[in-house]
Assembly symmetry: C2
Homo-oligomer: 188 residues x 2
């Protein structure tokens, strides 16, 4: 969500989110989105494969940047510190516009197919992280566990961020959620 | 999976799993399953709503038993100990037949829709656990975090159990995975 640039793609995205919230995702057609953004449907398809991709087209870039963040860490970084550093990168990428994130979240939560897509995206990120952790020499189980746990932390922190009234930013909330997990795990 | 009883329901389940593995889930029709089990399609529908439910009909009972296990714990049980006790109950319920579980897992992993359904089932269990933990007086964030973390531990342990060569049982693997998480979180 940090990648939104001015121009037709940006206008299309804002038009789509507004329409999904007003009418529902199912009821919104590509022609409606293009119309509101003041472009043709043909232009829509230059930016997005379909109306669902308006919500998810950042996924691949996010996964790539997450793995790149992991690659930059010293080889000796413990598993949980490594995934915490990755989440921090993710938080900086997706955490710059809470209003936009909140709208997107509302749209996704209102539709079972979109919720599934979001879950799959996170599971795919977890699997990719685990694979890369193994390549760094972290044991099989620790790698899976660290990756799955980072998704758990992300989901909890992200939900606090988009629904919260507090004005904490996402990287802060993620750090705080990690601390809470460490406290819980220590028996707190 | 611990609920399989002899009789038509049991035969239908075994027939379905075998056919899903042989031909693929998509390619298997209810009539094929009924035929192999030696019953009519009408009988199939007395046991299962559709061919997908053969794989998922235990979900509701599992969620119910998980929440019942939570309710039996002393009110002072810390969040992570509480979800660990729940997972132990789940492990005893689903962990009695590894061959069956392995077959089911192979079928699910081979089909995107089924993988989504499995993810949704776990997410729904996590949400139900978090709600019940809050009702027990556990803080909002700790409740979500403990519930999400338990799903992470379950996924890692379950995958070790069904794919593993070791002969550890599922409750043991879950306990061991919790320990590993505590070690990781302590900075190990």
């Amino acid at each position: 969500m940090g990648r939104w640039k001015p121009g037709a793609g940006d206008r299309l995205r804002e038009a789509a989110l507004s329409l999904y919230l007003e009418r529902g995702f199912e009821q919104t057609m590509v022609a409606d989105i293009a119309g509101r953004a003041g472009v043709t449907a043909r232009t829509f398809f230059r930016y997005f494969a379909d109306k669902r991709e308006v919500l998810f087209d950042d996924s691949a870039a996010l996964e790539e940047k997450s793995l790149a963040a992991l690659d930059e860490l010293p080889a000796t970084t413990p598993a949980l510190d490594a995934v915490a550093a990755v989440l921090d990168t993710v938080a900086r990428l997706v955490g710059d516009d809470r209003e936009l994130a909140r709208k997107r979240q509302l749209v996704i939560m209102a539709n079972a197919d979109l919720r599934e897509r979001e879950l799959i995206k996170l599971t795919s990120l977890s699997a990719a992280l685990a694979t890369r952790l193994r390549q760094r020499g972290i044991g099989d189980i620790e790698a899976s566990l660290a990756a799955e746990t980072s998704i758990a932390v992300f989901r909890v922190a992200f939900s606090r961020w988009v629904t919260g009234v507090e004005d904490q930013d996402l990287p802060d909330l993620i750090r705080e959620t990690w601390e809470r997990l460490r406290t819980l795990a220590a028996g707190g």
